[in-house]
Symmetry: C2
Subunit: 77 residues, 2 copies
Amino acid sequence: MKAKVYVRLKNGVLDPQGQTIQSSVERMGYDFAKEVRVGKVFEIEVESEACRKDLEKIASTMLANMIIEEYSIEFEA
Amino acid sequence: MKAKVYVRLKNGVLDPQGQTIQSSVERMGYDFAKEVRVGKVFEIEVESEACRKDLEKIASTMLANMIIEEYSIEFEA
Protein backbone atom coordinates (compact mmCIF):
# COMPACT_ATOMS: atom_id res chain seq x y z
CA MET A 1 0.00 0.00 0.00
CA LYS A 2 1.20 3.51 -0.74
CA ALA A 3 0.84 6.54 1.53
CA LYS A 4 1.21 9.92 -0.17
CA VAL A 5 2.13 13.00 1.87
CA TYR A 6 1.50 16.22 -0.06
CA VAL A 7 3.38 19.26 1.25
CA ARG A 8 2.58 22.71 -0.14
CA LEU A 9 3.14 26.31 0.81
CA LYS A 10 0.32 27.84 2.84
CA ASN A 11 -1.92 30.25 0.94
CA GLY A 12 -0.49 33.75 1.11
CA VAL A 13 3.13 32.57 1.34
CA LEU A 14 5.14 33.91 -1.60
CA ASP A 15 6.33 31.21 -4.03
CA PRO A 16 9.34 32.61 -5.97
CA GLN A 17 9.91 29.26 -7.69
CA GLY A 18 6.31 29.20 -8.88
CA GLN A 19 6.57 32.79 -10.10
CA THR A 20 9.76 32.01 -12.02
CA ILE A 21 8.07 29.07 -13.74
CA GLN A 22 5.04 31.20 -14.55
CA SER A 23 7.15 33.90 -16.26
CA SER A 24 9.05 31.22 -18.17
CA VAL A 25 5.76 29.75 -19.38
CA GLU A 26 4.69 33.23 -20.56
CA ARG A 27 8.02 33.75 -22.33
CA MET A 28 7.38 30.47 -24.17
CA GLY A 29 4.26 32.16 -25.54
CA TYR A 30 1.61 30.45 -23.40
CA ASP A 31 -0.87 32.65 -21.51
CA PHE A 32 -3.06 30.05 -19.77
CA ALA A 33 -1.09 29.81 -16.47
CA LYS A 34 -2.69 32.39 -14.10
CA GLU A 35 -0.63 31.23 -11.09
CA VAL A 36 1.92 28.48 -10.45
CA ARG A 37 2.73 27.02 -7.03
CA VAL A 38 5.23 24.26 -6.35
CA GLY A 39 4.85 21.53 -3.72
CA LYS A 40 6.31 18.12 -2.83
CA VAL A 41 4.93 14.59 -2.74
CA PHE A 42 6.43 11.94 -0.50
CA GLU A 43 5.41 8.46 -1.66
CA ILE A 44 5.89 5.97 1.19
CA GLU A 45 5.40 2.21 0.84
CA VAL A 46 3.56 1.02 3.99
CA GLU A 47 1.78 -2.11 5.23
CA SER A 48 -1.56 -0.50 6.13
CA GLU A 49 -3.29 2.74 7.21
CA ALA A 50 -2.48 1.86 10.81
CA CYS A 51 0.57 4.12 10.54
CA ARG A 52 -1.51 7.28 9.92
CA LYS A 53 -0.94 8.82 13.37
CA ASP A 54 2.83 8.19 13.16
CA LEU A 55 2.87 9.51 9.59
CA GLU A 56 1.21 12.73 10.72
CA LYS A 57 3.91 13.12 13.37
CA ILE A 58 6.65 12.59 10.75
CA ALA A 59 4.96 14.91 8.26
CA SER A 60 4.64 17.73 10.77
CA THR A 61 8.13 17.37 12.24
CA MET A 62 10.30 16.27 9.28
CA LEU A 63 8.57 16.63 5.91
CA ALA A 64 6.83 19.99 6.26
CA ASN A 65 7.94 23.29 7.78
CA MET A 66 4.68 24.00 9.59
CA ILE A 67 5.41 27.73 9.77
CA ILE A 68 5.05 28.20 6.02
CA GLU A 69 3.78 24.82 4.79
CA GLU A 70 0.77 22.54 5.23
CA TYR A 71 0.42 18.84 4.45
CA SER A 72 -2.23 16.29 3.57
CA ILE A 73 -2.08 12.50 3.58
CA GLU A 74 -3.71 10.04 1.19
CA PHE A 75 -3.55 6.24 1.15
CA GLU A 76 -3.67 4.26 -2.12
CA ALA A 77 -4.31 0.53 -2.09
CA MET B 1 -9.74 25.57 -12.28
CA LYS B 2 -6.56 23.95 -11.06
CA ALA B 3 -4.22 21.78 -13.12
CA LYS B 4 -1.83 19.59 -11.14
CA VAL B 5 1.36 18.30 -12.77
CA TYR B 6 2.94 15.48 -10.74
CA VAL B 7 6.61 14.83 -11.49
CA ARG B 8 8.31 11.77 -10.01
CA LEU B 9 11.45 9.77 -10.57
CA LYS B 10 11.00 6.82 -12.94
CA ASN B 11 10.93 3.41 -11.25
CA GLY B 12 14.43 2.04 -10.93
CA VAL B 13 16.05 5.49 -10.63
CA LEU B 14 17.85 5.80 -7.30
CA ASP B 15 16.29 8.32 -4.90
CA PRO B 16 18.98 9.39 -2.39
CA GLN B 17 16.65 11.99 -0.85
CA GLY B 18 13.99 9.35 -0.29
CA GLN B 19 16.54 6.97 1.21
CA THR B 20 17.80 9.66 3.58
CA ILE B 21 14.25 10.34 4.77
CA GLN B 22 13.61 6.62 5.20
CA SER B 23 16.67 6.17 7.43
CA SER B 24 15.70 9.25 9.46
CA VAL B 25 12.23 7.79 9.96
CA GLU B 26 13.80 4.54 11.20
CA ARG B 27 16.13 6.45 13.55
CA MET B 28 13.02 8.12 15.00
CA GLY B 29 11.90 4.60 15.95
CA TYR B 30 9.26 4.01 13.26
CA ASP B 31 9.49 0.85 11.15
CA PHE B 32 6.45 1.20 8.85
CA ALA B 33 8.17 3.00 5.95
CA LYS B 34 9.35 0.27 3.53
CA GLU B 35 10.42 2.76 0.85
CA VAL B 36 10.27 6.55 0.44
CA ARG B 37 10.34 8.40 -2.89
CA VAL B 38 10.15 12.15 -3.33
CA GLY B 39 8.37 13.97 -6.19
CA LYS B 40 7.06 17.42 -7.05
CA VAL B 41 3.59 18.86 -7.64
CA PHE B 42 3.07 21.94 -9.78
CA GLU B 43 -0.32 23.51 -9.07
CA ILE B 44 -1.29 25.77 -11.97
CA GLU B 45 -4.39 28.00 -11.99
CA VAL B 46 -5.96 27.71 -15.50
CA GLU B 47 -9.20 28.68 -17.26
CA SER B 48 -10.11 25.20 -18.57
CA GLU B 49 -8.75 21.82 -19.69
CA ALA B 50 -8.23 23.29 -23.16
CA CYS B 51 -4.60 23.92 -22.20
CA ARG B 52 -3.82 20.18 -21.72
CA LYS B 53 -1.72 19.79 -24.90
CA ASP B 54 0.31 22.93 -24.09
CA LEU B 55 0.67 21.79 -20.47
CA GLU B 56 2.07 18.44 -21.64
CA LYS B 57 4.62 20.34 -23.76
CA ILE B 58 5.63 22.50 -20.76
CA ALA B 59 5.74 19.50 -18.42
CA SER B 60 8.00 17.50 -20.73
CA THR B 61 10.31 20.37 -21.59
CA MET B 62 10.47 22.47 -18.41
CA LEU B 63 9.00 20.75 -15.37
CA ALA B 64 10.32 17.20 -15.76
CA ASN B 65 13.70 15.83 -16.80
CA MET B 66 12.32 13.14 -19.10
CA ILE B 67 15.53 11.09 -18.88
CA ILE B 68 14.98 10.21 -15.22
CA GLU B 69 11.49 11.55 -14.47
CA GLU B 70 7.90 10.98 -15.60
CA TYR B 71 4.87 13.22 -15.16
CA SER B 72 1.10 12.99 -14.93
CA ILE B 73 -1.52 15.71 -15.20
CA GLU B 74 -4.80 16.06 -13.30
CA PHE B 75 -7.43 18.78 -13.52
CA GLU B 76 -9.50 19.80 -10.49
CA ALA B 77 -12.63 21.93 -10.89
